[in-house]
Amino acid sequence: MDISFLKNRIIKVLSLLAFAAVFVACNPDLDYTVRGYSQKIIVEGTVETGEFPRVYLSLNVPLWKTLDSATVLDHVIRHAKVTVSDGFETEILTSKWDKTHFPPYVYTATDMKGVEGRAYSLKVEYSGYTITSTTFLPNGSVIDSVQFQPSTVSDTLKTLSVWVNIDKLAETGFRVFTKKQQDKRYIESPIVFNNDLTLSGIQKFNLSPQPEKTDSSYSEGQYFAVGDIVDIKICTLDRTSTNFFKDLNLFSKRAGSLFLNEVKPLNSNISEPGFGIWYGSGIRYYRCIIE
């Protein structure tokens, strides 16, 4: 075959391919700018036994928006009117900065404290919208006993279990937090115990706190060292709140990152256009020394 003929054809083919390549662009990022977004008032409010009610308000953040230290305040609600009532008294909450929390701005009462057995209503008025919610503060649960078991990772590290007396008729679930002496905060075992509300009588629950790198007990992980003085905080939740915190673990960033197949949205007890949780929490504190 004639060489020049071959060359001619190769050039034609390559030109055609180059033409095709030039006219198609790369698009390495997901494009969220054209997707739907509606603003919601996010509520995280709690009333605990013997404590002032606390409410944190924020706006949801669209996926396409980068949130840095300069823009984060755009999504913190600082000028809302927040009212809490327990059926006996009503109080408009005052607000202040709370740098230990995100969002870092809290609305809190100065007179009203949580009383077990009462229902609490919440009203938030912001930017022309009014959202409401009601919750119940159940009686706190009693830890009957604690149990230490050796771990296989070290002779000096133990696992900690609690035995809790459950009243099935109360339909309550539990969140358990622990705080070692060296820690500055209570650390949650990220499980809502009795979350299907089916248990009854004295039941055993294994605690597995998940300290973060900023916590002093980070190196011990979910274990407890012999000699540790451990404060235990057990929070009792009603049915609605139990279901919310059970699902919250699934919808949180760690669980949601692997499995995208969530087929139903997280249930909220806040009216539209609000979202989040307003919950009562029956609190009991205990202290033990790891043996």
Binding site: S38, L59, L63, F102, K253
Partner: protein, 709 residues
């Protein structure tokens, strides 16, 4: 020429070195399908007299795939894979980047019946779908159905890919092989006498030993060295002509995959490794009673296993899935006047372990309660007749199937009673063709199908993590009505083919897993989160194909809609399915520059998949929460890609014929989404949360050397 030869087709062929030779092509009457599709291409031979009007006359929706032609197309890392090339056909969309998984006319990937030598293969892909499990050097015949599926095929809803290994006894020893960038393969076909031959092939990758060290040398992150992706497969078989009318064939296949990812914090996984594989062993007996009557028997045993270990949220999980099947099938073919009758029986015994999960927390193993071993027997009988008279051709059949679960299911160390519910029913199959003249025809088909074993994805994009779920007392068998019709026309002396087809599919009892990893640990949760719903898909396919000349190829376009409706999902409202592809477009071009050099290029464009992604996020209880709005309402960016390849035949060296394949995959480096993940930063009272996507394959040139002698 009594050796079950009925149809002799005399073909003038031209060898690539210009010598003229004559060959007979034989028709195997024990493998009777549409007669016009019986032309097979032989390696190194160019078939000139291929029936140009095959697409007009074909008796059912089946296509006989020209394996050698598809092997010329560019492919990832230079490894020719005809199975993957099917994705360029109309109505078939690729599940994801580099994936060999396919969605056919709105069907799910697990609805494709992939058959190797008469035996269904559960998972026909290697290395996340980069390669199919079929060694291209051994494929003798590849037949594909997406509509008008005849009654002899059952058990899956959407398509059939029927692959047969080489079955004729060769005249001399054949050696085929390939040396490539990621993997190599070698296949031997050896005749021991004029009645007996055997074959063996081996294929394997060396990513960890060669590719990753090389990438590290050129500056890729050293963490890659801690990851491992390997596969290997082996085929062994024989063909024995017991007499002039009886042939016995046997085959054994084993394939294994191993993936180990040391750290994937994006998914909260600290380490994981997975192994999976298929094993198939089988016998096939063909006997020809007369020129009109023949039979075939198939006996196969298969196993598919998946073993995954994951460390997730500081807990070790071990997830095992298993399916074993013993299958017997027999076909009888009887030719009478203008009729081709075919009837047969199929029976299989299945054992399925959907998921056995062992959780290790606090170094104490806690097996989950969902490790149930389902056992069931599937039986089916079918009969069909293909009848041609004048311009009319009818293919009418009936398949009667039944799925019978065993009343006992085994758990760990014990057996317990289970509800035994019988599933089954009639599967009528109807196909008709009317020829207006020798250049145009219309075709219509209406078929019903049942499927008793589903592979349900746990994640809906990226890594194919799936659960095997048989029909049981809780999960009904899936079913489908499929109606399709089209117009076919050839122009310019049959050098060009045009076609337009429309389809409508109605699915019942589809499965979708709505739970989370936590839910896999309880049988009650697992089953309660296995939602059942329905689906429907409709659309139109258009094809323009050029068959002759230096430049050949085709252009296919599919316009489709694909919906699902589940009572437990999206508040019961209908939503677009994950594999909804509104537009799917492929251009394939092959240019023969000379007898030694040919070029090929493929371009694909498809509307992005539907995903259930959040619209916004917020923080409650120091946890990032995702806000969703409408199930599957997010659409991924469109998929598009251009690949090019050049094949260059080298001069024979000591009777070794070989060719070099230079391919460039993803020429313009399109970042097609493979995986989406959540990226969070949480620094001192400020949080940022984004969904990002990763893509698997950038522009990837490859060079491989293929040889045969």
């Amino acid at each position: 020429m009594k050796f079950h030869i009925l149809l002799l087709v005399y073909i003038v062929t031209s060898h690539y070195c210009y010598t003229q030779t004559s060959h007979f092509l034989i028709k195997d009457t024990t493998d009777s399908n549409s007669i016009v599709n019986k032309v097979q291409a032989i390696r190194e031979l160019e078939v000139r007299s291929k029936m140009a009007t095959a697409n007009i006359k074909s008796g059912s929706g089946g296509l006989v795939i020209d394996v050698n032609e598809l092997r010329k197309l560019p492919n990832i890392v230079g490894d020719a894979d005809p199975f993957k090339a099917l994705q360029y056909m109309g109505g078939i969309s690729q599940a994801g980047d580099a994936s060999a998984n396919m969605n056919v006319r709105g069907g799910n990937n697990d609805q494709n019946l992939v058959i190797l030598n008469g035996c269904a293969i559960q998972n026909p892909t290697h290395v996340l779908g980069l390669f199919s499990v079929f060694n291209p050097d051994l494929i003798d015949l590849m037949r594909y159905y997406k509509t008008g599926i005849p009654a002899e095929y059952g058990g899956r809803l959407s398509s059939v890919i029927d692959i047969k290994n080489f079955s004729n006894i060769p005249q001399k020893v054949h050696v085929d092989g390939s040396v490539g960038f990621i993997s190599s393969r070698l296949a031997l076909k050896i005749p021991l006498s004029d009645k007996f031959s055997f074959y063996a092939s081996q294929r394997g990758s060396y990513i960890g030993a060669f590719v990753i060290p090389m990438l590290i040398k050129v500056g890729i992150n050293e963490k890659l060295a801690q990851n491992d992706f390997e596969f290997s497969d082996t085929n062994i078989g024989f063909n024995y002509a017991l007499s002039s009318s009886t042939k016995l064939s046997g085959h054994f296949y084993t394939g294994n995959d191993r993936i180990s990812i040391s750290q994937s914090v994006k998914y909260s996984i600290d380490e994981n490794n997975s192994r999976w594989g298929n094993r198939v062993v089988g016998l096939q007996l063909n006997h020809v009673f007369s020129e009109k009557f023949s039979m075939a028997h198939y006996l196969n045993a298969t196993e598919f296993y998946l073993q995954s270990k994951v460390n997730w949220l500081t807990t070790d999980y071990s997830l095992n899935s298993l399916n074993r099947m013993l299958n017997y099938k027999t076909d009888f073919v009887y030719l009478h006047n203008r009729h081709t009758f075919k009837s047969g029986l199929e029976a299989s015994y299945n054992q399925t372990l959907p998921s056995k999960i062992v959780q290790s927390n606090n170094d104490v193993e806690v097996p989950n309660q969902s490790s149930l071993f389902y056992r069931n027997t599937d039986v089916a009988w079918y009969v069909r007749d293909e009848w041609e008279r004048g311009n009319l051709l009818l293919n009418i059949g009936l398949r009667v199937g039944a799925h019978i679960p065993t009343p006992k299911i085994a758990t760990i160390g014990a057996e317990q009673d289970a509800k035994s519910i019988f599933y089954g029913g009639l599967e009528p199959r109807f196909f008709s063709r009317w020829m207006f003249d020798q250049r145009s025809s219309i075709k219509f088909s209406a078929t019903r199908h049942f499927q008793y074993l589903s592979r349900v994805p746990v994640v809906n994009f990226g890594v194919p993590l799936e659960l095997l779920v048989p029909a049981s007392a809780v999960n009904k068998s899936s079913s489908l009505w499929h109606i399709s019709g089209g117009y076919f026309r050839n122009i310019f002396e049959n050098k060009w083919e045009l076609s337009a087809e429309m389809y409508y599919k109605s699915f019942s009892n589809l499965l979708e897993y709505g739970g989370n990893l936590n839910d896999l640990f309880s049988e009650q949760e697992l089953l309660s989160k296995m939602y059942t719903g329905r689906g429907w898909a409709y659309g139109a396919e258009f094809l323009v194909k050029k068959n002759a000349g230096r430049f050949t190829g085709w252009l296919s376009y599919t316009l489709g809609w694909n919906y699902r409706q589940f009572d437990n999902i999206n508040q019961g409202k209908a939503y677009l399915a994950t594999n909804d592809r509104r537009h799917d477009f492929s251009i394939i071009g092959m240019y023969k520059l000379s007898d030694r050099i040919n070029f090929s290029a493929t371009y694909v464009y498809a509307t992005g998949s539907r995903l259930n992604l959040p619209r916004s996020w917020f923080v409650v209880d120091n946890k990032v929460v995702l806000e969703y709005k409408g199930y599957n309402s997010f659409q991924m960016p469109a998929y598009n890609r251009l690949d090019i390849a050049m094949n260059y035949k080298l001069k024979p060296f000591y009777k070794i014929n070989s060719e070099l394949n230079l391919a460039i995959y993803n020429v313009y480096n399109r970042a097609n989404p493979f995986q989406v993940y959540y990226n969070t930063t949480n620094v001192a009272n400020s949080m940022d949360f984004k969904i990002k996507m990763s893509y698997l394959i950038p522009i990837l040139p490859s060079l491989s050397w293929t040889f045969h002698f």
